[in-house]
């Protein structure tokens, strides 16, 4: 067996990881007081599955990823537990973190545009991630990097090139190759396709799905694209204004949403018209996300929710999980079927818009 096959075999033996996030809270310190970017978020990623984390921009999805990776700025307060295979990795020492990062949990960043060091060739950046954790010769690490390039469909010759010589899609693939370099049990993909054009988005997502089938890593896929979630993820968690509003099996959450926000989110995305039905209009959710420097007392979605009652403005709903694992934070979750019907009507939302 060659050294490379040996290395590949050894890395392939790594099991997929289980990630449990419990009561995660993140507060950024600002001049005007703490900014509660994440409030009490909990979810679990079972080994080998993909969790889709959805929500509109600014809802805190990316902050969750950074908190899991311990990448938030020093002035941030992070509380709660992030259990990776049962071991809390939140607030580990720098040394201990270095050992966890990339060997057990790796990251596919948003904007691959700026995610690569502009003055280092891409091969060296992948090799760097390997050599930080494996005591192997440079040449072997380079061979592994070439292999990863093949996995994402890039020719090995281009390892010697610099980020500015790559197109956006190629850079994104290079970042994915880098994330795979040590076959970490857990992959965090933070909006991997946002900066790309639709065709490239589709190519990259197909690539990610292929890799997922093939390597069976656990993954968190952060996105604002519901269609991507429905195609890729076993479970889905919906975030709104720093809180988890709904989570469960993707089919449940997307087909039978129980939170009005999830219903609204679905309306806001174009669907392929089903033959024989009329084309559904795009309906947007009226209003804006509340200011988290002064979070509202009640449900954070209340000000935009067409079904909000007095209770919603007064009291925060708890995230309650039903027996099928479908969890929702809504005071009127039991009226979901009724809401779902109403939510399909544009008038429902327009009436709310008029009320604001």
């Amino acid at each position: 067996m060659t050294a490379l096959q040996d290395l590949n075999a050894r890395l392939a033996q790594k099991p997929a990881a289980r990630l449990e996030v419990k009561n995660l809270c993140v507060a950024y310190g600002t001049f005007r007081g703490p900014f509660n970017a994440i409030d009490n978020v909990s979810f679990t990623v079972e080994p080998g599955t993909t969790l889709g984390l959805v929500g509109e921009s600014g809802c805190g999805k990316s902050t969750v990823v950074k908190a899991i990776m311990n990448l938030l700025p020093e002035a941030t307060t992070v509380t709660g537990d992030v259990l990776l295979n049962g071991k809390n990795i939140l607030g580990l020492s720098d040394k201990a973190l270095q050992q966890v990062r990339w060997t057990q949990i790796s990251l596919i960043t948003q904007s691959a545009m700026n995610s690569l060091d502009p003055v280092l060739c891409i091969g060296d950046q992948i090799v760097e991630s390997i050599l930080a954790h494996e005591k192997i010769p440079y040449g072997l690490a380079w061979a592994r990097a070439a292999e990863m390039f093949a996995v994402v469909g890039l020719p090995a010759a281009r390892l010697r090139e610099f980020p500015h010589q790559f197109s956006g899609g190629m850079r994104q693939r290079a970042v994915i190759a880098m994330a795979l370099s040590l076959n970490a049990g857990m992959l965090l993909a933070d909006e991997p396709t946002t900066a790309l054009d639709p065709i490239m988005q589709d190519q990259i997502m197909t690539r990610i799905r292929g890799i997922h089938e093939h390597l069976r890593r656990s993954m968190i896929l952060v996105t604002h694209d519901i269609a991507v979630v429905s195609e890729t993820c076993e479970t889905t968690a919906v975030m709104y204004a720093g809180k988890l509003v709904e989570s469960g099996a993707t089919a449940d959450v997307l087909q039978r949403p129980r939170h009005p926000y999830t219903m609204g989110l679905q309306n806001a995305f174009p669907k392929l018209p089903v033959r024989g039905t009329s084309r559904q209009p795009l309906i947007s959710i009226p209003g804006t996300v509340p200011n988290l420097l002064m979070p509202p007392r009640g449900c954070r979605f209340a000000s935009r929710c067409p079904f909000a009652a007095a209770l919603c403005h007064a009291e925060q709903p708890e995230l309650i999980q039903s027996s099928d694992g479908h969890a929702v934070a809504c005071h009127f979750a039991e009226r979901a079927p009724e809401f779902r019907l109403a939510a399909r009507q544009a008038e429902t939302w327009r009436a709310k818009e008029a009320a604001i």
């Binding site: 509109e56 989110l265 209003g287 804006t288 935009r304």
Partner: protein
Amino acid sequence: MSQSTPKTDLPPIAGKGMLAAARESFILLIGDSFAVAGMVILTIFAAIAIFAPWLAPYDPFQAMLTESGRLLRLAPPSSANPFGTTAFGNDVLSQFLYGFRVAFIVGLVAAFAVGIISTVFGVVAGYFGGLIDDVLMRITDVALSIPTLPFSIVAVALLGPSIENIVLVITLLFWRNGARIIRSAVLTERERVYVKWARAAGASHIHIIMRHILPNIFRVVFLWITMSVAFAVLTEASLSFLGLGDPTVISWGQMLNTAFSSGSLRTAWWWVLPPSLGLIFLVSSLYLIGRGYEEQANPRLRRR
């Protein structure tokens, strides 16, 4: 998703005045403790410069005599001469206090001249572009290869050592860097949406420059003027130290030149220390202001 109208952060079409820009800068400055320290030092120094004749116990050129009528050379500090005397029997404190004046006059006049010339050239080249811009860029390309101090040495020697000539040479030397910096700032401003709007609305060039361009490049001009004062003070001090200063006035560089050439460095610390510290504090306080300002005004440097 919400379909709220995009937020526009455009300033009102009328633009803002220079006073508003100056006030914004001041607010930024007092946010940085180093810059505040610099401003305090500078204010104290300016007060000393203004009141030097009243503060100085003697005329800076007056020779101190001992009781027996001999020249009081290199006397250590005493109650009569708090900072001692020089090798030529002059009172160090009085010379030191008058030195504030020269430093301030050179700094302010040169900065004023450099600031105005740089701004005019920078704005004209940046705003109108074209031939003026090309010529300016070629001139600064060459000028950047002229060694500054050697040029001043030769020029001052040829023109004759006087404060006026020193200021003239400093102005000749330093306008180029400023023009270049200000030009690139103007280029950025010129492309802003509100400038285009103002133009489309029929505003005159003068109006656009005064209300839109200048207030928005105030930060760059301010920084450049702080730096120019520092360069001017340093250049005058260096020239005087090399013996090319104005012989009719007393400057810190000259004091050090006399101390150095009379071989008194080792013994007369009271003679060497005041002008050295005066220069260090004056120039660093300018740098502290400039740096603190940059730190506050540059979002990538500001602490989050």
